[in-house]
Symmetry: C2
Subunit: 281 residues, 2 copies
Amino acid sequence: MIVTIIGLGLIGGSIALDLKARGFTNHVIGVDKNPSHTSIALKKGIVQEIADLKTAVQKANLVILAIPVNAVVKLLPQVLDYADENTTVTDMGSTKAKLIESVVSHSKRAQYVAAHPMAGTEYSGPTAAIYNLFDNKMAIICDKENSDAESVTIVEGMFKILKMPILYMDAQEHDIHAAYVSHISHITSFVLAMAVLEKEKSINNIFNLASGGFASTVRLAKSSPQMWSQIFEQNQHNLLEVMDTYIEQFKIWRQCISEGDFEALQDKMEAANAIRKILDR
Amino acid sequence: MIVTIIGLGLIGGSIALDLKARGFTNHVIGVDKNPSHTSIALKKGIVQEIADLKTAVQKANLVILAIPVNAVVKLLPQVLDYADENTTVTDMGSTKAKLIESVVSHSKRAQYVAAHPMAGTEYSGPTAAIYNLFDNKMAIICDKENSDAESVTIVEGMFKILKMPILYMDAQEHDIHAAYVSHISHITSFVLAMAVLEKEKSINNIFNLASGGFASTVRLAKSSPQMWSQIFEQNQHNLLEVMDTYIEQFKIWRQCISEGDFEALQDKMEAANAIRKILDR
């Protein structure tokens, strides 16, 4: 199996490492518009060959797009144009509805399997690529019924090699869920970082006190702005809904604190403790 | 040196373990109103003796209060009443101004050293006590000039044994800093947990998608409601100020997303990325 990976960043690079190491493929072809990414990827042994988009797609049995979601919208139709009729195309984007929309009437739509591996770190680029990034994380395949059974089987096989249990859902449902458990976490981390950095201007050494709790809460604020602004753009509607739920809750908390109703606040915290059942399972 | 620890939870228990293991003391006396805590602490070897408050304070060279901050306000004057004139008293509370206020005119005020070790986990109780919890985290001593030099030296010695670098600041300044780098992180985590749990009621299986980023961001929502509601109460004024800065930023982000100004949003994320300089140092 020849695998072409478009986008040799954290996700694309990490997939390449595992698929090769675990025998899913012997030959990974890399495509990346950034020449420093391609040279690092070759040097680190992430890919065995670098090619232009057309050549790379034509040579591949499986093409994986691991680029920011707006770039997927632009490239996906072209990738399907170049693809042989036996080639499977998939993407690793954090949003799904608009990506699928971009090829809804493409003659080779059925060769495309929309997917999302729920894994990552706050780092980016091929130097961030690591082995075992995906082990035991969830993968989602969307709108499976609109893809050829053969193509779905190939992508399922890839996720199996990556040790990812697979969930199936429709793209709209995926985007709502992703807004709640991934996208909003990034927003609150970014905003917290901004609020604290804003204050830092007027108070010296505020960060000498930064403890593990703070680091954990703002970790995602180190994430790639280019990648995440596109995810927020594509999931605009769902994200606004979640943000409104969040801001409503935040205001209730502010009111409790402002009015000195710490008993009500303690009740709310006990309710929030229920998050343990999700985190500790 | 005989050390009495009042409150055998995560912090008190962990201090006891390290002070004994590292030879700062051979005998730790524990006080806790919860009988299951005292029996676990004895069984786990966290303390060598359990005593009532008065006896435990009278026997000690150093008394450490490691209880919720409202309980410190209540107990601290009484502890100083019981304390021999050569006994040093300190506390590990996350707020400082109101604790100090509670003994400002006490005849033994100078035997008290107000302190805050910036370390912890989201777990609580003596079963959560662990070795090496404090290594390389910051400790703060507040209003040092109002404590006897001998007492300050003893508390500094304790933090040295716990491998904590020490910062000195006044109590007001401490409480502002703590609001920014610790207390607000807990608020945003609790609120995020609430917002997502709220949605869970109407959407099945939302959490199958919960990834590492979500877990990291809401980790603090597992924290003790009893402990944190008291911290929020005592730091009410500073916390409201931080919450207002946060909510203002959050609304600007919402506006960018709602108006589709993703270029401005990307600029903001790049600004937020500056948090790396604090997290990665």
